[in-house]
């Protein structure tokens, strides 16, 4: 067997240890990204017409596709709607259940339960919540004299309905992280603040929040990814309708790729999704990291 000198042997050893993880990374992340970008420059093969190089044609088609712009707009509204609300709600719930509350364990479990339910099952139940006339939401509205409304059938309310469902589902999950972080804050800090005469809100704003920044960063990144990634409820509730009012980018990609089998156009859309998520990741990590205080 070849004898390696000490330095090379260590180097080989290190790469061998990295090998399993890198193989997985390359196979399931880097290779698909590269091949997706590559595929977006070719046409979709159909019977009698094999795939051929078309340059930026797919991108031109995408720029002229009104459904694409609709879907992009929907996704940004959806993201800006769900992210701040999820984060604030999670923080509020965590602060509330952190204190001395009778039945604290029950409340924590209750807040966390939506997370453990599978999204498809949840969506099927919420489909009936939103059903006009016989659904819970309409019945509640009836108590206040508000007339029956087709919540999922009206383009102006359907996206809000999806957002409510997503927030309800995920806020409990983020609450857990905030709860853990809150319990990591030393009580001496609060005692010191009380002695100094700092108000509760002042303490929360100047001490608690900054100390929670690592968690906030984590929650922000996660909820951003979720707002682009979690589209399961669309399959059950609206299938993107009415007239693409509730379609999100990933759902549209699925429709184009597996409904229409237009793989080249789907690759093009995927490149867009990649760019958006990449840009968001870079922004979040660079900008917010500067404001994060690690202990």
């Amino acid at each position: 067997m070849m004898r390696l000198d000490f330095k090379t042997a260590r180097w080989v050893h290190a790469w061998l240890l990295l090998l399993p993880a890198s193989v997985l990374m390359v196979t399931f992340t880097h290779y698909p990204i590269v091949s997706g970008i590559f595929a977006s420059f070719f046409s979709t093969p159909r019977q009698g017409r094999p795939s051929r190089f078309v340059g930026l044609d797919n991108y031109a088609y995408m720029a002229n596709d009104p459904v694409f712009w609709q879907v992009l707009k929907n996704n940004f509204i959806y993201a800006f709607g769900t992210i701040p609300v999820s984060v604030c709600l999670a923080l509020l719930m965590a602060v509330w259940v952190n204190g001395k509350l009778p039945g604290r364990a029950v409340v924590r479990t209750a807040y966390f339960t939506p997370t453990i339910l599978p999204m498809i099952a949840v969506a099927n139940i919420w489909l009936f919540f939103y059903t006009p006339q016989i659904g819970i939401l309409d019945n509640l509205c009836g108590l206040f004299g508000i007339p029956s409304h087709s919540w999922l059938g009206d383009p102006s309310t359907v996206l809000a309905c999806l957002m409510v469902l997503a927030i309800w589902k995920d806020a409990g999950f983020f609450m857990i992280f905030y709860l853990a972080a809150l319990q990591g804050i030393s009580p001496e800090l609060e005692e010191a603040a009380l002695i100094e005469g700092a108000g509760r809100w002042y303490f929360f704003r100047r001490v608690t929040l900054p100390l929670l920044m690592p968690t906030t960063l984590f929650v922000l990144v996660n909820s951003t990814i979720n707002s682009f990634k979690l589209v399961d409820h669309i399959f059950i509730l609206t299938k993107g309708g009415p007239d693409n009012a509730s379609s999100l980018l990933l759902y549209y990609i699925y429709e184009v790729a597996f409904g229409f089998w237009d793989t080249a156009y789907a690759s093009t859309l995927t490149v867009v999704l990649l760019l958006i998520l990449g840009a968001l990741a870079v922004t979040q990590f660079n900008y917010i990291e500067k404001r994060v205080h690690y202990q």
Partner: protein, 429 residues
């Protein structure tokens, strides 16, 4: 000594595996996907039928996987085929025939059903149902769970409104007039019961096709490469659908959900509903009131598209698998089983022979509603089916939904859809 023992054990284990493998190959294994687009415990019925088949044919094992609705099942089947996973046959949307042909995954039944007995079996199905099974002069699908749209009406609501419960509307004008009487409002003026609801999610194009046929227009040609969405009578049909909500106020505005409409009908939130006959048994089992089923009303003529799924046989199959699959398909579509399937679901039995069985004759005599869909066959037309069907169908669905939610007027929406459909289909002419 230890090394030697390990060697022996290794070869022994290999031998056992090899023998076990060959033993398992004696039974032919069939994998299939099937959809459920109607209410009721359908998967249980299918499983029971498969158990019966396996008992009668111990050398064939069938693994049937419930794959969601028609679109989901098509996606799953095509994905499995492209990944070279073993799938020998499936129940798929009858209208996906062009898409499946274009993806080159099917083998036509003319190639496989060669004996005289087989040919007689193929010719026993209702011609109305075979329209969506044929393309380029060959038969690609065998009818299994087929339907037409029927009109369900709440007889108690009719009586309450002073209408004859046994005379459902026969024309568009009658439907509007009766629905206006059927609308019930509470003290505050909010509607508690609508007159009629036609679902516009999931399969909006199917319901729309019914309205168009009633107005004298078929939406595509039989070669699947031309559509006529912008014809004046087609626009008129969509205008009528929109008018039901906005002008006549007998239907709620916005889209009506396919999946929850049955429940709304059962809870009395609507007096009339247009829905697939495949929901018949589920409605019958759950209805706490007297209800009737009738053919759809006429405008220029009566009409409904056929609907539902066919058995398809895939190309990547060995001759043994094809024979086994044929046995299974013939079993599932035999008159007696077709009759039982129709009773369990409400789907139309697919051959006259099925309706001639004692089981179904008795059932229809007790429950005439079960024959309505079949009686509508003379007025039925092939369901919307073209090349790149999923894409073109979506263009039509989007146009319909944009009109029903007040986004666009019918002329503009349908002209836009026609233009985009042309761009897709002209390559196939």
């Amino acid at each position: 000594m230890k090394h030697g023992m390990i060697k022996v054990l290794f070869w022994l284990a290999l031998a056992v595996c090899a023998l076990g493998g060959t033993a398992a190959q004696a039974a032919v294994e069939l994998n299939m996907y099937y959809p459920v687009a109607v209410g009721g415990p359908i998967t249980k019925v299918i499983d029971d039928m498969i158990v019966e088949f396996e008992k009668a044919n111990p050398d064939i094992k069938v693994k049937a996987v419930y794959a969601g609705n028609y679109d989901d099942t098509r996606v799953k089947a095509l994905a499995a085929l492209k990944a070279s996973q073993p799938v020998q046959l499936s129940v798929l949307f009858s209208i996906d025939v062009f898409e499946l042909m274009d993806q080159d995954v099917l083998v036509s039944f003319d190639e496989v059903a060669t004996s005289a007995e087989d040919k007689q079996w193929l010719s026993g199905f209702y011609p109305a149902l075979m329209e969506n099974s044929k393309a380029k002069g060959k038969i690609w699908g065998v009818p299994f769970q087929r339907s037409t749209i029927v009109m369900y009406h709440n007889k108690d609501a009719f009586k309450e409104a002073g209408l004859d419960p046994n005379k459902p509307p026969a024309t568009w004008e009658e439907m509007v007039a009766m629905s206006q009487k059927l609308v019930k409002k509470d003290a505050a003026g909010n509607v508690t019961r609508w007159g009629v609801q036609i679902p516009s999610t999931g399969y909006a194009y199917w319901m729309f096709q019914a309205l168009c046929i009633q107005n004298g227009q078929v939406l595509m040609n039989l070669d699947g490469n031309k559509t006529n969405f912008d014809h004046a009578d087609v626009v008129g049909a969509l205008q009528f659908w929109r008018d039901l909500a906005v002008k006549h106020k007998v239907m709620p505005e916005g889209t009506v959900d396919w999946g929850t409409l049955r429940q709304k009908f059962l809870e009395g939130a609507t007096a009339i509903m247009w829905h697939t006959t495949g929901n018949l048994t589920a409605v019958r089992d759950a209805a706490k009131f007297d209800f009737g089923v009738s053919m759809l009303p006429a405008s220029k003529r009566r009409g409904s598209p056929t609907g539902g799924g066919n058995f398809y046989l895939f190309k990547k199959t060995t001759p043994a698998e094809r024979m086994a699959a044929m046995k299974f398909i013939k079993f599932m579509t035999a008159p007696e089983l077709s009759a039982r399937w129709s009773i369990a679901t409400g789907y139309v039995a697919t051959s006259q022979a099925a309706y001639d069985t004692a089981t179904l004759k008795k059932y229809v005599a007790d429950f005439p509603a079960a024959a309505v869909a079949r009686d509508q066959f003379p007025y039925s037309v092939a369901e919307f089916s073209v090349h790149e069907n999923a894409r073109v169908k979506k263009l039509l669905d989007d146009a319909i939904q944009s009109v029903l939610t007040g986004g666009k007027p019918p002329q503009e929406a349908l002209a836009g859809a026609q233009q985009q459909a042309e761009r897709v289909l002209k390559d196939y002419r």
